[in-house]
Subunit: 108 residues, 2 copies
DNA sequence: CTGAATCCGTGCCGATACTG
DNA sequence: CAGTATCGGCACGGATTCAG
């Protein structure tokens, strides 16, 4: 921890803390991961309902970034009408202990 | 975790994860806490140097919020010229394990 | 149903100047 | 030395509309 400066430490390496917080940062990513943390596949409009207050724009862009970072998986079933389900990944699940500790800390 | 929605869960309670991330959110709070995590008192202009890239405005406002949230302590020595030192608190130190885990996760 | 595209307001953050 | 005050840019996020 010591010596950590902004995104880059004086040694020139990227601070892993900042890297982590960038991946799950923003207003909606954690709420989305929380909803998916049950492990079940959840559809787009289900997420719209369960992540209270989120808009189309933010849900779509958040899902895209989360998938790009390997934190969720998108599965498309080519039925008619088209159906898509999102799943949480192992990488996200391995983050949960840290989130639990943070939440614990948030409760004082 | 499950059922967490934005800042408020459907049960009406505030999500402790969001509470935690709000306290240490923003661009500079974690870097500041990292520098202070050694436990030594550090002066204002020392922080300016050690937290690379931070401006007067952001350092002052970040310190004020961190103190308000009980994450740092401000100690003023009424010498001439005036001297101020900032210290990390127990509350911040209790956050470090979670930060360590997050950093670990950030390194994959 | 699952998004993409566009426009736009707000708030974070940076730069600069000033104060006790 | 240790901050405030003020202004402004820009990215994040919100609302609406459109598309496959």
């Amino acid at each position: 921890m010591s010596g950590c400066k902004a995104e880059h430490c004086p040694c020139g390496a990227v601070c892993p803390l900042q890297v982590a917080l960038k991946r799950i940062g923003g207003k909606w990513k954690i709420p989305i991961l929380c909803v998916l943390s049950s492990g079940e596949g959840i559809r787009y409009n289900e997420l719209m309902k369960k992540v209270t207050g989120i808009t189309n724009t933010m849900l779509a862009s958040s899902l895209k970034e989360l998938e790009k970072d390997g934190l969720i998986t998108r599965v498309q079933y080519n039925e008619m009408p088209i159906r898509v389900e999102y799943f949480i990944t192992e990488k996200s699940l391995s983050l949960m202990p840290a989130m639990q500790m943070l939440a614990q800390w948030g409760m004082e």
